[in-house]
Symmetry: D2
Subunit: 440 residues, 4 copies
């Protein structure tokens, strides 16, 4: 019997954590945070809080169902905070248990853990490459299969058990034309499908979109179509996107080079993600520079202000986060933003009332200063309904436990599964945070 | 020639201010604030700021178009802050010019002006009754016609000129069954229509609702239907509504009496509005009490916590405003709110992303504590499309200048006017903040 | 063991059919049709089609799961077509099995069966009163408990079994102020709750509305508020509502009497429902008349056209149905509808793209003729989230099987149940058409 | 003085017609139909109806304001029916007046006129190339400037007058990467801007989208990303798009060739548009075939049914139009559509309740047959807000009269113009069907 503990991410998009038990041994996949639950409380200092207090806020998963189990490994699917952000808080519950992930994921996790101020994390961490199969106990092995998403080195995590594989696919998209060359490993997915998938744990975030998610190449096209035509005639050019979206940043740097402008990345998190990516050869910063320290930011932006037409600024703040560079610019700080500037949002609005409000305030402030806004030069990193259908066909799983979504998203995934011949309660299981699904 | 200066409220719902000029003399109607423009900026202390700084934020009207005109009177239509909230900031621009309004409106304005910390307001203020016609110059007279809205003693303001009347109807609804007995003065409106209306300045906020706005009696029915049946079986009962909505508060007090519970009004603004209403005999507080000072609030809520089943709490915070009583309760302060409590929202959500976010955070916090929420026991105070059509028929105006709305609302009103035989640009004029419409 | 067969209405709002099995004996509750599945096919003549063909279209429930079971009774909860409309097609599968319902429900069912042209229905039908408990086999008895809805004599159906009651509550609202005096039988519901409810099968259509559904008295108020004030000044007055909504029709007739106009009900289905209601003393037609035959309709409307100010027309067609009276008027037939007419919609738009389109076409046509439209003078007949919560408290059931909704509605109900301490998969079961839930 | 007659398309997206008068001479631009107004009436045979009857339905523009004027030319901007569909009905009002357009536009218009059964159209028609300036009277000349849209050879129409140019830009997008090589003529637009634009008449349909419209290359990418990966594994492949969208069809034909399948275009309108495009060398049909006659359609689809894996079907019916090929397939005709088929919608849903309903019915029927649906592999052909802003900058017009939209769209365009320094009523004019704007 295989038991799936649906610990977090089964009632929200956020704080993902799932555990797989076979014969008394447990593999944990992901330990994420839920940022919007931090946002609704004022004066929360995440890095100084105990896991108990954060659980109460609903900000990190409640792992009590497996606290006393024999955990043999922790696998991290990719480096987004809703997948690795709680490692610093929860890994100490499982001392000495090794943590595995792709190199970029592990490096980001180490960075995250370093900032932690309440716990000390001593778990060993191993960078694992696509293709390796890591035996984590006599019965269990884990494998990271290459997949595409909006951060480099994402993976579909496979836990090999004597009863068949458990395949965890949160988050992914099928991108056949990714500009930085990452590709879904269709061949390996098909093989795993043939070997036998006992349980499949897919994300469900965008399962209601009845289409195939566009390739990142579409975002590149949107950006080039604007910058290399209209952009050439603009004076100040400021763009903002997800700091972890290395492919997008690479595209913007190349565009800046083509325009004869210097790309300048401003903001702490941009420096963090690109810095680690550069170490691993995942981004080429040629022609660009990144500034991080408050003083460097201040001086650089002052300089850019003098000759705006020579730069393409890439800044943090696409969701109007307080303290982010763009938010401060809109408040009249750092840079004399105004009528001669265009702000390009290469990011959607995260559909949560708190984000919507912060972004709204940001846009109003920018417009009051006469700034031109260009929005939605962006594509999603999440699979849509027809991608999900295709992955079901590739893997042909015996059982499905939809994850990574609000209850309605999980149930929409379950409806898709029924279209493909599954039946809710028989071989598709809609679970909730804190419960488990037993597969006989 | 009559000139209408469309100073504020012509690009938003908020900061209403209109001026009417005839033969070199000007009457100002309303001087309001725009709260959401205060909200998007942190650390704004409204009462300590200059009018210049507030104008820059977009929080109060920019009255430069009439600063050097001969202003003979300021008329206030009713006591909501988006109509009187900028008196303390702008009336000093017109020293000695008398201010007129119904008694409740004037008393609220005096109260507002008393809190002002930047300016000193010395304008004389006169309480005017429905029916009186006040001659404010040789040519001009003003009149307050009784109408129904969500605050007592609202009025349609009429400026009588030698060329005909200018009628200003922001805000109003036609409520034929108001529980506290206020009624629209159809007879006088019809007379004014017959005497001749040169210009009509109506609100346009809800002109897209293709119906007639329900009477306040409908809200009363919704509340009774809940409280006198299910409410009887609940333990803690907390309700929240607009502090200035005296009719609604009266209904809740009567319901508490019928339930054998004591109505307790908690929060500064509830005390302010009911206190002044009581002076004027507009509310009967029998069986109820209002608490205001921080200490009284603390002690009273502690007491109520001990025997929740004896009270019906009426508190501030329906929009999740920071610092309001309900918001503090949701944060775990003041009252041990939890599973045995029901919160009844007798108010809608103001459709602005910042309000939506605050209300959302409030509801999440209440639900995390196990509180039962009952929403939308409420009806609007604003006229809908068919009410507007009826008022056009009653007044039969020569020209219309829609007000009190975003640009799209003004244009929707203009479309309604075209259905009634008017033509945009000929006798319906869609204006913007800061411009004027000249009527020959 | 009790088995609930979730035959129809578990993937849609429509074609409701549920069966309860205890010890080899089955009671069927409701046999409804799904009108929108008839609408998407052209040239469907419902009354001439076999049950096999209608099943294929998705228009009636597929009862194969119980075709060979020992069915001992068919209970009908109320007279709406989505609950009784398939009796003519499916009852012949269970020859001689008696059919029970309240008098109005049975009379409507007999009427429906009479129009059937494919099958002959020979099942005995019995009019049952609230309070009676009908023993339908040694082990099973059925009872109809009074409840309020948008048609007279609705009931909550209770199947008493040796293991406890099965309570079926589709459709209902808690209306404490119904103008025609019907009341929810709270006392009996509470008693049944105390005796022990094994399974509860509630509707889920409006479970996402986080409020209490307004009383029908609110609709009455909206109608009076319009007709007795503005309506008095209008010339032609035409209103349209659900033909089975006897309370609403009664209100309109009384309003016409107060206005000194004659209420004239025009259209086949209005005559049908009011005719049977009149037999049972459920409606007072004093001052009103109903016309049905094509000739009578033609002549009456011609007459009314001559002196519109003397009549209040009540017609079919609120959803823009082809062939309905209002639709024909909008096409320029029957009545010279135009600028001097007001059409009052005392009905919402059924939220299905086909209805939305038909209603849209209707409104465009009416507006092109200059007709004034007043919309939404209406309240729903379905329970909202807080009504559902209250009914759970009254009944305190052991298990819940949400019904009467699309999959997302059933799951939203399940979420409500979890708020009340239930758990999906343990004691709340989300099922689909054609499956069964076994309660041990 | 220049007068702009805003004849049609100023209250809807459809029936576009504008006229420009200078010194007593008039140039008409476009004569379109409004299809949704035909749709809401049953039994309308467009080709047999008089212009008077069609005007009454609101289906064609009402040109009475210019009927007796001296019309010197009719210019057609591009070949969509909402721009040329009423030529057959209205050109006869202006006998002998020459009609100008690009070759594809004129050929489509001639084809349209040939089907007319009520009128005979005798106006001379001239194919005009980009760059030519046609002198149509002593004072007036017209010019077609190349622009990109969703049909070949679209143009921005310029009327040169002694007081400056009138520039008409409905419909257009700025597509810098169009797969079939069409390009916006930025150079000429800039020149015209420098020469002086007196009046600018832009479309406003998508002015609320705060972005730049994606290039057609994005649609190509979406299609390739699906077909060349997942599509390769599917059996039956059916796609549907706009019949006039030659670029899209070209992409699909090339994709079929890459897949080793034959592209088969089925349906009357597909044959019409591709046939004329082929004559002009605008499409390469290599590897593809088009079938049109009922018999050919029947036989071809029968054949395709036998070996679905060899074909990529391209069919009419993306909006669920009755009688279209896909609609008939969904009804079980022509082709045994079912579980082994995938339908790819390379078209959005036109946002009109009637289209929404037809498309909805189509999708339901396809799903009931087990067909896989992939939606939204499509991009719009209309300019977004930031494209509009850019065109204003290129042309720098003295006055703007927004067109091609509902009233709210025109006013949203006017708001954009105000952001760029214009003022409503001074140099931006929101007009309505049937009125005129006089430019001094």
């Amino acid at each position: 019997m295989i038991t799936i503990y649906t610990i977090g991410g089964y009632e929200e998009v956020g704080k993902n954590m799932t555990a797989v038990e076979y014969n008394g041994e447990v593999v944990i996949v992901d330990m994420g945070i839920r940022l919007d639950r931090v946002l609704i409380h004022e004066d929360v200092n995440f890095q100084k809080m105990s896991s108990r207090d954060l659980r109460k806020l609903g900000a990190i998963p409640d792992d009590k169902a497996i606290r006393n189990k024999k955990v043999v490994a922790i696998a991290l699917s990719h480096g987004h905070l809703d997948h690795i952000g709680a490692v610093a808080k929860l890994a100490p519950h499982y001392p000495d248990v090794p943590i595995y992930g792709t190199p970029y994921t592990i490096k980001l996790t180490k960075n995250e853990v370093r900032g932690e101020q309440y716990f000390e994390v001593k778990n060993p961490m191993y960078e694992t490459n696509y293709g390796e199969i890591v035996q984590v106990s006599e019965n269990l092995a884990i494998e990271f299969v290459q997949i595409t998403h909006s951060i480099p080195q994402s993976s579909i995590v496979v836990i090999h058990t004597p009863e068949g594989a458990v395949v965890y696919a949160c988050d992914y998209k099928f991108d056949n034309n990714n500009p930085i060359g990452e590709k879904p490993d269709y061949k390996r997915l098909r093989e795993i499908g043939k070997e036998g998938v006992k349980v499949f744990v897919p994300e469900s975030t965008r399962v209601s979109e009845q289409t195939k998610t566009p390739s990142e190449a579409a975002a590149k096209l949107l950006l080039e179509d604007f910058f290399l035509y209209e952009g050439m005639e603009e004076k100040g050019l400021i763009t903002t996107t997800f700091a972890s979206h290395i492919a997008r940043l690479q595209e913007l740097i190349e565009i800046a080079n083509k325009m004869g402008r210097q790309a300048v990345l401003v903001g702490r998190s941009l420096s963090k993600y690109t810095g680690i990516a550069k170490q691993l050869g995942l981004i080429k910063m040629k022609g660009a520079k990144a500034v991080r320290s408050p003083n460097a930011v201040k001086n650089t932006l002052k300089e850019v202000s003098q000759a705006k037409e020579n730069y393409l600024l890439i800044v943090t703040g696409h969701q109007g986060e307080p303290g982010a560079v763009l938010t401060r610019m809109a408040n009249g700080e750092l840079y004399n933003i105004g009528k001669e500037d265009t702000v390009v949002f290469s990011a959607g609005v995260i559909p949560n009332p708190l984000n919507i409000a912060q972004r709204y305030a940001l846009e109003i402030k920018l417009r009051m200063r006469g700034v031109r806004l260009v929005k939605d030069l962006h594509v999603s990193g999440h699979a849509s309904r027809e991608d999900h259908r295709y992955l079901i066909k590739l893997l042909n799983p015996e059982n499905i436990v939809p994850a990574h979504g609000e209850f309605r998203m999980l149930t929409h995934y379950a409806e898709l599964a029924e279209e493909e011949g599954y039946l809710i309660g028989r071989d598709v299981f809609v679970s909730r945070n804190g419960y488990k699904v037993e597969i006989k």
